[in-house]
Symmetry: C2
Subunit: 252 residues, 2 copies
DNA sequence: TTGTGTGAATGCCTTCACAGCT
DNA sequence: AGCTGTGAAGGCATTCACACAA
């Protein structure tokens, strides 16, 4: 994941496993593309390829939704689009507020895929008084003072936090107090929220670090491969550092 | 979450489980904060709370790295910072290119947490000739024509794609051909890459859809709770749609 | 014959609970 | 006495492989 939940234990939601829920948007995107090309039906094999998963997983995923699909034929594209949309709750409109209209907040406000699928930017909110009134993506930025009123007036239940890390927890608390129960957090902080509130986080820095880990590992493998075979023993023989390099000094 | 690998099967990397790798940056961030406050040692309980995980998981994670930590005392903050940094490959410098300098690309370029942890923005690349030469985050944007040269001259192995969806696959192929082996993809597309190349994706739209799913579910629960008890039977009795509402008509 | 739907097997991750250091 | 390190247990998720429907 690039991503993770925070609260709510591993309770399967209405019988649909969390891992499956996380893939439904992927299938939906692939199906939408097929729909636009007026493709009437698709097999699990084809759709899986388009979504970047394997077909067994896709079929198992769909089996949690019900028995859509025709044996020997495949799935009806339009029908599946509708079923998945409904399952994800995209047949209704979700008003969303974005808090923190810096570079990132502006990018999110301008993001097209937003409006396309059931989400509507209800308001842009920033703490800087100088931002108030300025139009971003065609929407006038409002000051943080208005936060509670905006949430309540628009019945907003999903909030996006794109503030600096320092402000995130406080913003989060105000959002929750005003009635928001789902938060997408772009600030590099762990948010603490009461039970019943969902938090998902998107963290550039974490993703890069995970890539760096694998990148480093690739480099190490190359070196080992150049040496010949990688030493089969020599691992797991000494504690304190699984590698050979145990630095005697502490770094600054 | 919100995120996912693409290639490379579930092979545990050098014995460290993928799930653990994904949490190391979280621990590192919490430890860095402690370090800045000059806290000398920390227990698994405290650190876990700061990182938003439970302590058993944290201890198990650390056990894959080695036996750092002192029983009855806890972990030495500075030492752990170093060990995790080394494990993640952050003791070396990773030059990174960002392709696609729109709103999002600019936001990424300006992101501070970038430079702080071993990553260095080597170049900003955009296909728009009008962007070429313009400074973003203190770096002059270069044209896509220069892509291969930039990658090779700087020894870049990590690329960030922040282009529109339509351009992503092509950019990806050029990056890979030029020597990039890790890609962070912000474009809402499934990238296909050769073996040995890691892709992680960050997708706003998917995250929102997952939140919407749970949000919808909360609303449903409330309704059921208001009615009294949720009907225990009535589920799993009829195929074709796990719900009661089987629409006879297909939506547009 | 083709391709879905799904029990069964497998493997990974998390959680438990406690032995063993300091 | 306190807290780490880790076998063992339990729970999810993925994959396999095939019965069954069209």
């Amino acid at each position: 994941m690039a991503t993770g939940r925070t609260h709510r234990p591993a309770t399967r939601s209405r019988g649909i496993p969390e891992a499956t829920v996380a893939r439904l948007p992927l299938y939906l995107r692939a199906l939408t593309a097929l729909s636009e090309r007026s493709v009437p039906t698709v097999s699990s094999e084809e759709l899986a390829a388009a979504a970047g998963v394997n077909s067994a997983k896709l079929r198992k995923d769909f089996s949690y939704l019900g028995s859509y699909g025709t044996r020997g034929v495949g799935y009806d594209v339009e029908y599946l689009v509708y079923q998945i949309s409904r399952e994800l709750g995209l047949t209704q409109d979700w008003p969303v507020v974005i808090v923190g209209i810096g570079n990132l907040g502006a990018a999110l406000a301008n993001y097209g895929g937003f409006a396309s699928r059931g989400f509507r930017v209800a308001a842009l909110i920033d703490a800087d008084p100088a931002m108030a009134g300025k139009p971003v993506a065609g929407i006038s930025v409002q000051h943080t003072d208005e936060l509670e009123k905006i949430i309540e007036d628009n019945g907003v239940s999903i909030g996006v936090i794109a503030t600096p890390a320092g402000a995130a927890q406080q913003v989060c608390e105000r959002l929750v107090a005003a009635g928001v129960t789902s938060i997408l957090n772009f600030a590099p902080t762990v948010l603490s929220v009461p039970d019943g509130v969902d938090v998902r986080k998107v963290d550039l820095s974490i993703e890069l670090q995970i890539l760096a880990f694998h990148e480093q590992r690739k480099a190490g493998e190359e070196a080992a491969a150049a040496d010949g075979v990688l030493p089969p023993a020599a691992a797991k023989q000494q504690r304190k550092g699984p590698d050979g390099d145990v630095p005697a000094v502490m770094p600054a």
